[in-house]
Each structure stands twice: as C-alpha cells, then as structure tokens.
C-alpha cells in the first residue's frame, strides 16, 4: 500500500508543475497590472513604474518563471502583492475554515442524498422516487448564490433565526453548509439509487427475499452496505471538490476560506497568491483521490493495491 501511495504522489509532481506553468502563462496573458490596480484612482505613473521595477515585475518572463520555481522548491511561495503577507501563511489560515465548511456540507449532502437515494430505489419509478430525487436535485439546479441569498433573506432577515454572514460558531455554519451540501446531494442520491438498484438485482438478494425477510430488512441488512462502496469513494472525492470549489458560498456568507482567497487573487492579478492557491487546491484534490483509493480498500479488503 505504501508503495502505491508514493507512486501516486510522484506521478502528481509533473501535474503540479503543469498547473504552475499554466497559471503562470495565463496570468501573463491576462491584461492587468496589480500595482496599478492597488493604487486605483490614486494612480501616479512614476510610483507605479518604480514599484514595478523594485518588485521585478518587468523582468523577462522566463526569468520570473524560473525564480518562481526556484522559490517554490524551497517552500517559499512568496508574498502576496496585495495583502503583503506570506502566501503560505494566508493559505494555512484560510484552509481550516474551508475544511470545516466542506465537511459540514458533505454531511448535509449525505443526510439528504443517501436516504433519498434509498427511498427512490426501493420505489423505483413511483411518485416517491420522483419526489425524493427531485428534492435532492433541487439543490444542484439552483444557482448557488441565488439559493444562498434566498436563505439569507428568509432565515436571516425575515425570520431572524440564523445569522446572515460570518463564521463565529456552529450556527454560522448552518446555512452555508445546507446551501453547499444540497448542491451535492443530487449526485449522492443518484449514485446511491443506481448502486442500490444494481445490488438489488443480485442473486443473494433474491435469496434473502426468499427467506421471507421484509423488503426493508432486505435492503438495510444486505443490500445497503454493499451498495455503499461506490458512494463512499465518491464521498472522499466530493470533499476534495468541495474544498476547491466553495468560492461562491464563501463570498455570499462571508466565510474566510481559500475560495475567497483564490477569487481575490485572480481579480487582483496577485500572481504569488494565485499560484499558491491553485497548487494548494490541486494538491488537496490529489490527496482526496488518494484517500478515496485507500478508503475503497479499507472497506473492501478484497481490493488491494500494490
């Protein structure tokens, strides 16, 4: 198992290099001068020119790229142009918030999705099937910021029972987790349903039925556990993708996570911060895939990696 992990990690190095290169190229093509942006209307041509020179922003492209690589290999991801703080510090500070949000959202999606998937599979093609699938899919069918805003408006403003924005305690987590989690619930529901349907076709299920168990017992005792395998692997991937994608939820609900850091980095052409964010989230996705593989083999010991 260990060898497998190491091999996977090694393979990801060229991937990370590729991402760095692409991000670098893109940010150089995109029009925009971070210094002029920082000064906004207090723009002074002499100052901008001078600061650009001092920050080596006008050096030839390949030199800047090499310098970037060199620093990165030494673990130095530089200092954010706009925020004037070390990129590593910024990411480390922001990450736990996104992690909490992602985990909470994943939980919400499982709570909504799995029962929905089970019920839909059991009553396939009936009104129950449609209702539960519809409910879980509702989350992924709304623009996230629209859903977020509605939640804020109804529960925050009109009913006043939940805080509109911020991140100071569990109650702040409720709305963003629900909005984000509902968004993935559809996928979980689908997967649970189809996986369960497939398992239910198997012979040993027929045997269980023949033994006289009720349908529900058949499902819960025999079918469900075995159908969870694909769902569980998706769960790990899901957390990884939630981590890299909670951008809009974080903006609407004021969660200080890496999604916001990354979006601001793009908007401000903050190269060091953007590089750091992208590398970081990619690495998380890779780890997520790895975790999914390991989870897979943990749950089903028949599957081994070598």
């Amino acid at each position: 198992m260990g060898k497998y992990i190491i091999k996977k990690l090694l393979v990801s190095v060229p991937l990370l290099f590729g991402i760095t290169l692409i991000t670098f190229i893109m940010l150089n093509i995109v029009p925009g001068d971070p210094i002029a942006l920082m000064m906004k209307d207090h723009f002074n041509p002499d100052v901008v020119a001078r600061v650009r020179l001092q920050m080596h922003l006008d050096d030839p492209t390949y030199i800047r790229f090499l310098r970037l690589l060199w620093d990165a290999l030494h673990g130095d991801f530089g200092v954010s142009y706009i925020l004037n703080r070390s990129v590593t510090e910024l990411l480390v500070e922001a990450f736990p918030n996104t992690l909490i949000l992602a985990v909470a959202a994943a939980l919400v999606s499982w709570i909504i999705g799995i029962p929905a998937g089970v019920l839909s599979a059991v009553k396939k093609n009936s009104a129950v099937d449609n209702f539960f699938m519809g409910f879980s899919l509702l989350g992924v069918s709304m623009p996230i910021f629209w859903a977020g805003m509605l939640f804020q408006y109804v529960f925050g403003l009109k009913l006043g029972i939940l805080p509109v924005s911020g991140f100071d305690g569990p109650e702040y987590l409720i709305m963003p987790a629900i909005v984000l989690g509902w968004n993935s619930a559809g996928t979980i529901a689908r997967l649970t349903r189809s996986s369960l349907l497939e398992v239910m076709r198997n012979d040993y299920i027929r045997t269980a039925r023949a033994k006289g168990y009720t349908e529900l017992k058949v499902i819960l005792k025999h079918a469900l556990k075995n159908s969870m395998l694909p769902v569980v692997t998706v769960m790990a991937l899901q957390v990884a993708s939630l981590l890299s994608g909670a951008v809009i939820t974080e903006s609407v609900f004021g969660v200080p996570g890496i999604g916001r850091v990354a979006v601001n980095a793009i908007q401000n052409r903050d190269m060091p911060l953007l590089q750091g964010s992208v590398l970081f989230t990619t690495f998380i996705v890779i780890l997520g895939n790895l975790a999914a593989d390991m989870l897979y083999s943990y749950i089903d010991p028949r599957i081994k990696y070598n």
Partner: protein
C-alpha cells in the same frame, strides 16, 4: 459484510466529531469582542481585507491608518463639504518666505501605543522610510517634493537631505521647489507618522501583527483575522482625550446585499448608500430608517473622461458636441435622486479655488448636432464607453448616456472590463471614454487639476490631452507662493481646459448618504465624502 457497515458508521461519527471540534476550536480561538453592558462597540464593515495597516504599502483603504496613526496636521470637517487644516502632531509651523522651508513645532509628551514619546526623529524616520527603495512604497508621491527625495528613491543617497531634526520637538523640512499644497498634503493618511523603534523592530510584521503595529492614534489594532474581522480598541492615552467608544469591529463582507442585510438585522451600525443607490428611496421612506440618514456633499467631481487619442475625439468640436449632448440635470434627477449639484469645471464646491462664476455648459442637442456637422460627422459616429464591471450604478449611467448620445447620432457600445483590466488599460492611455469620480485627497486645486491634466498624468488617465501651455502653467501654479494669484491662475486654467478645449465632460458633485442605527451619535460625513472604509471613528458615540 457486517463489519463494513460498522466501519462506515464509525467513520461518519468520527467525521461529525472532528467537524464539531474544529468549529469549536475556531470560535474559541477567536478574539471575539463581548458586547457587555458597559462596552461601547461600533460595528462597521469593509468589503475587502486591506491586508496590512502599513500605509506605506498601499494607496487605497486608508481607513485603518486614519484611526491608528496621527499626522503632523489634520483636516477637520467644519461643515458639509467644508474643511480646514488644524494642528495635529505639529502644534504650529512656520513657512519661509520663498516657500521652501517648513519648520514644524511638535506637540510635547504625545505617547505612542508602546509608551514611547513622539519626537522629531520619528518624523524623519517615517518620511525616510517612504522614500527608502527597500520599502517599495506606493506612497512616495506624497513626499517626493522634499529636497533630496529623488536621490533617496533612486538609491543615490542613504538619507533625505531635506529633512532635518533641529531638536526633539522641532523638525525642518525643505522642499526641492515650492509646493503650495504641502501642508494639506501632510494631512493625508499616507503621511501618517510612525515610531522609529517600533516599526524597525517589527520588520515585515509591521501593519500585520496588531501588537507590533504602533501609532499615536485614538485607536490601536487589537486583532486581525484575515478576510473575516479586524478589531481596533480605544487608546486610553490619546492626546486629544480617549475616544468615546471602546472598540471598533470591522467585518469583512464582500457581498453588498449581505452587508445590507447585516445592517438591517442590527449586526452593523452603519451602511453606505453608495453601495445600494437604487435603495435610497426605500431607506428614505422607511419609518425605521428615514431619520437615520446622514448626507453631505463630497468634495469631488463625477466626470466623463475623453480620450483624445481615439478618433474623432481629437477634434475639439466633437468634444464640445459631446459636452452639449448630455443632459446632466436629468441624469442627476433620475439616476441619483437629485442628491447633489451640477459642476461645470474641474473644481467642485468646497474646494479652495472653486469658481461659482464659471460658465455653465448648456444641454443643447441641436447645437451638438451642428458642431458634429461642422466637424465632418453629419451622421454621427461610433464610439465606446468603458466601465468597470459592477453591480449596476455604473451601468445605469452608461446606458443613460448611450440613449442620450443616440439622439445626436452618436452610437455607443458599452465595454465592460473587470477592475484589473480597466486600470491597466487606463494606465496605458488606451481606455475609451469612461465615467468616473475623483474626490479630494487634500483641499487644494492642485489635487484636481494636476492629477488629470499635468503632462505626466494625461496618458495614465487616458485623457491624452495635449496643451504645452497648460502644462507649463500647471507646473508654475504648483510652486506659486502668492495664494490669490495662484487661485486666479487655476481658475483660468480650468476655463481653458474645460470650456475652450473641452478636455472632459464635468458632471456633478454627489452627496454621500449613509444610514446609521438610531443609537449611533456623532457620525459626521467626512468633508471629502469618503466611504466607510476610509472614515475616522474618533467622534462617534454609542448611546444604548
């Protein structure tokens, strides 16, 4: 098979526990302020995190520096849109006859937040730091008129020759050339005074770590959670007397509608109506809020810049036609609910040098069409209006302009750019006509005319105005020492630039409206109409 289920359940339970613990840890570790009965806490907001409180490293978002540091002189808001220079860390000052040497007599026994006493050496240190190439400061434009500044910036010298410490309470600054607005210039937050000892010791953590960020101001930084919340606490030893509130909490909220909901649910104490212009009627009519609206003119001007490098705007007739084709009064009424007044030149009311007798540009589409015909465009022409992508107030203006200009045959395409592209294109001098606003950094005509029409600035502002005579006179006016003659010259230049040369279209000066919670007292709109990210919290009180 059974163990699989157990494994699953145990994993899920573990996850839930971890999640709960993490959230608890986060909240436990937060420097959350406790709104006890006695604590007066003001809740305001920022839409982006400024990143640092080191004013030398930024040019916008000066709100925190405004509150945690002081300057040699300060601008006091004496009335709506009115201001005057008052002593700050300098009690008094003398200016030599030729206007080159300023001697500041500093206040005694002013304590920095770390207990150090303020002395002249701190002034020397602060300005030298701005000019030190190592600092890579964005604020050098505010002190580069000091003698020896250029050499310091270019690395040719280790010291700024023009700053001299006479004794602990006297500092003398000599300029390279006379610069009439030097005193008001020193009142900007960019010229805040640092403590040599504290700033040197803090290194690159200055402005980032609250304990290491030291100033003399009415507040000091208490905690900084990036992208979330910045807290300032009152300085009990402030030389003008402690602030009447104990703490200021700045929430970082990127989304405007969320901000508004926070305000309406009582989580924020102030709301800037610039962020929700279309909601002004709602707030004005709402029983709860209609008496909580404060507004004042901002000493600033909304204008439409004309890029003379883009044809046909190199033709003065075309530019004059543009000026006359826009119904400014109607824009003010319909889009801004008449909150403001028309401005005809460059200098708005409230600014030293404002000329109330400057001739008004008429709204005359018929004459505009005639001018276009004379210029060779009887059937009009195509043009672009650029604007930064935003939530809508810019767009409304652009669309209104589009339909007004259509009446004289000018077909407008609206080009939306994101902030970065917008400022980069403007810097390159290639931005098509755009509408923007400029409000005063300090109360002097130079801050308006020079910023836009000086030779070195016309490209970066995408005006590309070209008049060697005006350029020469602007440089002259910058150094003139006779205040009356100087004002007269600026007024002449204003007429030349706007009326004769039609270099831009002046629009109006808008009032800046804010809504505050009923228990907030003492809120005054700053003379330059700056928004919530840039106001002083010193005079505000909370009565609950």
């Amino acid at each position: 098979m059974k163990s699989n289920g157990k494994k699953l359940i145990s994993m899920v339970v573990a996850l839930v526990l971890v999640c709960g613990m993490l959230t608890a840890c986060r909240t436990g570790g937060n420097a959350k302020t406790v709104d006890s009965e006695d604590a007066k806490v003001l809740h305001s907001q920022l839409s982006t995190d400024p990143g640092t409180a080191d004013i030398h490293k930024m040019a916008d978002y000066v709100g925190i520096p405004l509150n945690i540091y002081d300057r040699l002189v300060e601008m006091e808001t004496t009335g709506p849109g009115q201001s005057k220079v008052v002593p700050g860390l300098a009690e008094s000052w003398d200016i030599s006859e030729e206007g080159l040497t300023y001697t500041f007599h500093l206040r005694k026994n002013v304590k920095f937040h770390n207990g150090e006493i303020f002395k002249a050496d701190d002034v020397l240190y602060t300005f030298d730091r701005i000019l030190d190439p190592e600092t890579k400061s964005l604020g050098s434009g505010f002190v580069d008129m000091i003698a020896g500044a250029e050499d310091r910036l270019n690395g040719k010298s280790d010291v700024v020759s023009g700053i001299k410490v006479v004794d602990d309470n006297t500092v003398q600054i000599t300029l390279a050339k006379p610069y009439a607005p030097f005193i008001p210039n020193l009142a900007t937050p960019n010229c805040s005074i640092y403590n040599r000892k504290a700033t040197t010791e803090a290194g690159d953590k200055f402005g980032i770590e609250p304990e290491k960020t030291i100033g003399t101001g009415p507040f000091r930084l208490k905690s900084w959670e990036l992208n979330k919340r910045i807290v300032m606490e009152a300085n009990p030893d402030y030389f003008r007397g402690p602030a009447k509130i104990n703490e200021v909490v700045l929430e970082v909220i990127p989304d405007v509608e969320t901000t508004r909901m926070m305000f309406e649910t009582g989580k924020l104490d102030m709301f800037d109506l610039d962020d929700a212009r279309s909601q002004i009627p709602y707030f004005k009519q709402n029983e709860k809020w209609k008496n909580q609206i404060s507004g004042a003119p901002r000493v600033g001007i909304y204008y439409i810049a004309i890029n003379e490098n883009i044809k046909p705007f190199d033709n003065v007739r075309v530019r004059k036609a543009l000026q006359m084709a826009i119904d400014r009064k109607s824009l003010l009424e319909k889009l801004f609910y008449n909150e403001g007044q028309l401005v005809n030149g460059i200098m708005p009311p409230g600014l030293i040098g404002y000329n109330p007798d400057l001739e008004t540009i008429p709204y005359d589409p018929a004459k505009a069409k005639e001018l276009l015909k004379e210029a060779g465009y009887p059937d009009g022409f195509d043009m672009e209006i650029a604007q930064p992508v935003d939530t809508g107030s810019n767009l409304r203006m652009s669309e209104a302009l589009q339909s007004m200009l259509a009446e004289v045959g000018i077909r407008v395409t609206i080009k939306q750019l994101d902030d970065s592209s917008f400022f980069a294109t403007r810097k390159a001098g290639e931005l098509p006509c755009f509408q923007s606003v400029w409000s005063a950094d300090f109360n002097d005509p130079n801050n308006f005319l020079y910023t836009f029409f000086a030779e070195k600035n016309v490209k970066g502002r995408s005006l590309n105005y070209n008049s060697p005579e005006v350029f020469k006179k602007l440089e002259e006016a910058k150094s003139m020492t006779d205040p009356e003659a100087r004002i007269k010259l600026y007024q002449e230049l204003e007429k030349t630039i706007v009326i004769d040369d039609a270099a831009w279209v002046p629009l109006f000066e808008l009032n800046h409206l804010f809504v505050t919670q009923p228990y907030v007292k003492g809120f005054k709109v700053a003379w330059n109409g700056w928004g919530l990210s840039n106001i002083s919290f010193y005079g505000i009180e909370i009565e609950k």
